[in-house]
Subunit: 331 residues, 2 copies
């Protein structure tokens, strides 16, 4: 396409990145990293034939672009080299064993980058690869996969990256320095687990309530006194659990999240999009892990656990309906 | 119909009863009282023409029957006499002003019988008619209105009656003695408000969870550990609120309700039937009044209030869809 930027001119000195999963997050950030000069390959399953033939098309307010991965693979083990980074953008679901999916390409120097929602999602990967750097990432973006190889970026895009469980590293810095060249703000934090809990302050109420309240957007949720009160109480419970886990958040975070959401355009959280698309929801990553952490730390989270129990029931029913290939719309 | 029992042979000495609303509860118990010898008239709105032409047909495992009301009226004020009883079986909804609907037929000696779900539902009527006997009633029955003038009784039928707020009266006894003649067990309690709270122990978890969990029956609700735990916690909160309101329930009531429901056939609670029929749900009578009572009495009910906030959202969305004439399926 003459009107689109392309990712064909790859910097041979750029880092090698293997993106696992060609959902919205993997495709978008993989494409942006390629634009910024990285050598980016992808592992894909159901989208393989389409991407092999046409690459990945990203429609974005920052400029549409075409992402032509260096290699397009069925399995990580086919990569045939040791990548500097493996980037995982898949949804966090109990049936997805990330460690097994990436194992075939993990070398001693490979940093594993998890750009995913939820809390306490790094541990299984960290345990499987105890000698590798784990980079934890949070994407603040509205993006969806509309068809195989077709990505729609709607707005936002900021990425927060940090070494897991805390600290900093040269690999984190190198990755974070690449993205701004493609127009994506990226910040590094030495306390990425705190950042995960802080993101959960928004996700824990709005994601489940949007589904459980009958497929409602943020405007509807914030239009009723009882449900604003529920949002606030869930946020406060997340703050208490975070504090008990050693990640005290500023007390202003609750009101800021409510006011900020009121100021936003009406927004459908990712769980609602997954629910409406009859795809599995990230019930365990977003709610189950938080409830389990709270119970482990003896923090009562009665509002949160009510949402969790209900959402398990809804997810089970939803999964028994016809489902498509997984898409990814993290909040 | 030759094969059906009819209600034509009315005992001139039987009490006069005006049934307000020809939903499932009013039609079924009105018909049974007529079978037992009472002179029963009905006030109906959308069903008027059908019932005027054909009366009310009740299909029931106890025997199908035809209920021919003595008078069929548009408004209570058309009754033209003072009934011994006014029987109200309508759903309890904020937009239904029971006192105004019945006012035209309430005489000094009229007992007002409320066979309805929820807690603290008697007060508005008691305040409007401070000199009348209020009889509070709880129906343990699966019955629905399938069309105007058509009632399907599926199972159960037991009625609990009591003078509100407590005690006993000749009118309560007279009503309670009538029903067994028609095959309906009826027990009198001197503590009917306690009986309401006790019924709420079942209704408060199963009704909302059946809707919020994605249109699931009792079997699905009881098949997941998290949701059984939620059921139990909601039941415990109802017991705490009841106790604070002066109605201590036996501690065994929680486990008995769970075990009893496990032993039942899978069952769709009334709220789920209303939700699926796109009819208003009794959110305020069943949940809102309980939450408000708990807050007034400083009893924390976090699980219950989460269900309440979510169900308000769902009910609002449900009401904005196409709706039919109200039907009644109390649990």
């Amino acid at each position: 396409m003459e009107t689109e930027k392309s990712t064909k001119n790859i910097d041979p000195a750029g880092p090698s990145i293997l993106v696992v999963g060609t959902g919205a997050i993997g495709s978008f950030y993989g494409g942006k990293l390629a634009q910024a000069g990285a050598r980016v390959s992808v592992v894909c399953r159901s989208d393989y034939e389409t991407i092999k033939a046409h690459g990945i098309r990203v429609a974005s307010p920052l400029g549409d672009f075409h992402f032509q991965p260096e290699k397009i693979l069925h399995e990580a083990s086919e990569y045939g080299a040791v990548p500097d980074y493996i980037l995982v953008g898949m949804k966090v679901l109990p049936e997805v064993n990330t460690a097994e999916i990436i194992r075939g390409a993990v070398g001693p120097e490979t940093a594993i980058v998890l750009i995913q929602n939820g809390v306490e999602i790094e541990e299984p990967v960290a345990l499987a690869f105890p000698h590798n750097e784990i980079v934890s990432g949070l994407a603040y973006i509205a993006v969806s996969r509309t068809a195989p190889g077709e990505i729609l970026h709607q707005q936002y895009g900021r990425l927060t990256l940090g070494l897991y469980p805390s600290g900093d590293s040269a690999k984190v810095q190198r990755l974070a320095c690449l993205l701004p060249a493609s127009g994506i703000p990226c910040e590094v934090t030495s306390e990425v687990v705190s950042a995960r809990w802080q993101k959960l302050v928004w996700n824990a109420p709005f994601n489940p309530i949007s589904v459980l309240g009958g497929a409602v957007d943020t405007r509807v949720i914030l239009s009723s006194e009882e449900s604003v009160d529920l949002v606030r109480k869930v946020m406060e419970e997340v703050c208490l659990a975070a504090k008990a886990a050693g990640h005290e958040l500023p007390p202003s975070v609750v009101q800021q999240n409510i006011d900020g959401t009121k100021a936003m355009k009406p927004y459908k959280p990712s769980m609602l999009l997954d629910y409406e698309g009859k795809r599995p929801m990230e019930v365990e990553a977003i709610l189950g892990n938080a409830v389990r952490a709270a119970r482990r730390l003896s923090v009562p989270v009665p509002h949160l656990e009510t949402l969790y129990a209900l959402l398990q029931l809804v997810d089970e029913g939803n999964r028994s309906r016809v489902s498509e290939a997984p898409c990814h719309h993290p909040d």
